[in-house]
């Protein structure tokens, strides 16, 4: 995606040169394939390290929380929605930001590609015209359709274009609609399980968790000064590998994100053991849509439904 990279560099250099911002938050090329690194450019020379392609799947809104500088930031659809959530929740001010909108062509799933490879991937190349990704290693070379190796959240995304921005780095991309794809197919599968199946599903889902909190720390919503799992006085939850404590962490974190999660997928991308943390958050997203007609981060003014009260709020759960 050299056209994106070039345009991003051009805009970033201009903003720094004209002293519109103190820094621009983007990505630089990682030292291993499929992994670019969030990076801050504070002068024009540093902008040259910027890169944009299908491996920029973290959420840059995570890097502006409570900052005081004037910041230029690259923002895809989901990243821009998290910036909107930050604005509503007072974690940054609009006048501090210059949002460089990135119409998003979706990110590839690093876990999926690694599992597919017959050995270690040493290089990744993308052919934007053909829509293919080629992974190479010592004894293999495989070309796949990008559409087949997308992060699951990207393949289900309804907001690829930024919802809030100052300038776009490219023309808008076509959006998917709920008429074409059902973003909640997997949620419905889990909802249809009987209690034992559900128990086993979530038991298995979390069985590999090592409590590294990469999911939480990659998430722009998780900015609490002290997370409840780190609190020691009072201690809300045990810190061992006890299964109940591990589940408590995941359940409570998910609920704390209800009506705020934009399904950016950073949690899943960050997880070192490949847990699909989105099995929790996607269900809450579906509930918020069905109960409140709400999608997170589409407005920089309205507070999320669980943060407000209206007499019209659904109350069918009161028996």
């Amino acid at each position: 995606m050299n056209s994106y990279t070039d345009k991003i560099k051009e805009i970033s250099k201009r903003l720094l040169k004209e002293d519109k911002v103190d820094m621009v938050v983007g990505y630089r090329k990682g030292s291993v394939p499929l992994m670019h690194q969030p990076y801050i450019a504070q002068n024009e020379a540093e902008v040259d390290a910027f890169v944009w392609d299908s491996n920029c799947g973290l959420n840059l809104a995570n890097y502006i929380t409570d900052r005081t500088e004037r910041i230029g930031i690259l923002a895809t659809g989901c990243n821009s929605r998290n910036i909107a959530v930050h604005l509503v929740e007072g974690k940054i001010k609009r006048e501090q930001l210059y949002i460089i909108g990135i119409p998003c062509k979706a990110m590839v799933d690093r876990h999926k590609l690694s599992a597919m490879a017959d050995g270690d991937i040493t290089s990744v190349a993308e052919d934007e015209e053909k829509g293919t990704i080629t992974i190479k290693g010592e004894n293999f070379s495989e070309t796949v359709n990008k559409a087949d190796v997308l992060q699951e959240n990207c393949s289900l995304c309804m907001h690829r274009n930024p919802v809030i921005y100052d300038e776009l780095a490219a023309e808008e991309v076509p959006e998917q609609s709920r008429d074409e794809i059902d973003p909640y197919a997997r949620v419905k599968e889990i909802e249809a399980m009987d209690p034992d199946e559900k128990w086993n599903h979530f038991d298995d889902l979390l069985s590999d968790c090592i409590r590294c909190y990469a999911c939480r720390n990659a998430c722009p919503l998780c900015y609490c000064p002290l997370c409840f799992v780190d609190e020691s006085n009072p201690q809300w939850v045990g810190k061992s590998m006890d299964a109940t404590d591990v589940r408590t962490f995941h359940f409570l974190r998910a609920y704390h994100c209800a009506g705020r999660c934009t399904d950016c997928g950073a949690c899943v991308r960050a997880c070192p053991v490949g847990i699909n943390v989105r099995d929790f958050t996607k269900k809450l997203e579906k509930d918020c849509l069905e109960l409140f007609g709400w999608e997170a981060g589409l407005s920089a003014e309205k507070r999320p439904p669980l943060d407000t009260y209206s007499p019209k709020d659904p109350e069918d759960f009161i028996k």
């Binding site: 291993v32 690194q37 969030p38 050995g119 909190y213 939480r216 780190d230 960050a270």
Partner: protein, 358 residues
């Protein structure tokens, strides 16, 4: 040291014989990556693997370990009196461990086995474990063991080293523990006079395939305070870090722990859990003050510990065996090779360092 030959046709039957005297632990593929698991009867280790995501450190040093127990029943005469739980330290054999992971144990031992203090839990588990290594013929692009005091054929920390040779393993019997294991398995075919030479040849070939390295020669000579204050390194590298515990938890050499008391029903437990220098509770004082209160402080602690404090204290290289797990699994691509080279090349006069690609 002798070299024996283990025909792969004798492999499974030998392992079954070992079960009489050892609990077997080995790499198996579950879901989509390999992990060390206790091998139930009939299950063989999958020796066709690069390495596991989580290191086998937990075999000796579990992520959560009950070290004391007490009754929480007020009517019990031993109410609230902590006692050591009855625990069986049965002989274990880790089959298929990579040399870099085995080399992490003596390194960690420097912390758990000192003149003043001997950690009973770690030592008991270590002493009852036999390490059956598997030499590494296909190192990963992120492996840098040869410049981190280890190597794909390093046998310093193993009891037995297996070298894959097509239809059989050439096995270097390195210790008495290794000898007891091969005897129990009934493996005793002589590998022939050429075996030792064949192993050396394969070793040289494997070592030449290690693609990346770290430069460590200047670390001991660098001033600790200069490195500590090297903002060029820490501010740039800390920006992306999210302070998760991935690097510390997948690392075979990170040893920090925290002790917690918990009550479940009528039982009290004192549990030792792995800690991570990335976490906000790490080294937080009772007053609430934390000398490592920021993201930058925590990131610096991890790398200064591994690449400077350890180097100075033990004078035995860096606290890293070059397994590359943290490089592969860090969600934001913090690369210890890059940071090590920056620290090694740091010039306090100009406040600059060399920045390498990896």
């Amino acid at each position: 040291m002798k070299v024996i030959k283990i025909d792969k046709t004798d492999w499974a039957s030998g392992l079954e014989k070992l079960r009489g005297s050892f609990a077997l632990i080995g790499p198996v593929k579950e879901k989509f990556y390999h992990t060390f698991k206790t091998l139930e009867p009939g299950r063989e280790p999958d020796m066709d693997y690069a390495n596991t995501r989580i290191s086998p450190k937990f075999v000796i040093y579990p992520q959560s370990e009950v070290i004391l127990k007490c009754s929480m029943d007020a009517n019990d005469p031993d109410y609230k009196i902590f006692k050591e739980p009855e625990k069986e330290y049965k002989s274990k054999a880790v089959v298929g461990i990579r040399p870099c992971d085995a080399d992490s144990f003596p390194l960690v031992r420097r912390n758990f086995d000192t003149e003043d203090y001997k950690d009973p839990y770690w030592l008991r588990a270590y002493e009852t474990t036999t390490l059956v290594g598997l030499a590494c013929d296909n190192p990963c692009p992120t492996c840098f063991c040869t410049s981190a005091g280890s190597g794909p054929y390093s046998d310093d920390s193993l009891d037995l080293l297996l070298v894959d040779n097509g239809d059989h393993y050439m096995a270097k019997v390195l210790t008495e523990k290794g000898q007891s294991l091969v005897s129990a398995a009934g493996w005793n075919d002589d590998a022939g006079d050429d075996a030792a030479e064949a192993i050396e040849k394969k070793k040289a070939d494997a070592e030449s395939r290690i693609q990346s390295r770290v430069n460590t020669q200047n670390l001991a000579g660098q001033s600790l305070l200069d490195l500590y204050e090297a903002d060029t390194i820490w501010e740039t590298e800390a920006f992306a870090c999210i302070n998760c515990g991935t690097c510390t938890y997948v690392c075979p050499t990170c040893w920090c722990f925290d002790v917690q008391d918990e009550v479940h029903g009528n039982q009290g437990y004192r549990i030792r859990n792995w800690d991570s220098c990335m976490y906000p509770l790490f080294t937080r004082h009772a007053s609430g003050h934390n000398p490592r209160g920021t993201k930058l402080d925590r990131l610096r602690q991890r790398f200064m510990h591994k690449l400077k404090y350890y180097v100075d204290k033990y004078e035995n290289g860096i606290q890293c065996t070059g397994c590359g797990r943290c490089v592969r699994l860090c969600p934001v691509n913090i690369d210890i090779r890059r940071i090590c080279n920056m620290m090694n090349s740091y010039d306090p006069e100009s406040c600059t360092c060399e920045v390498t690609a990896s």
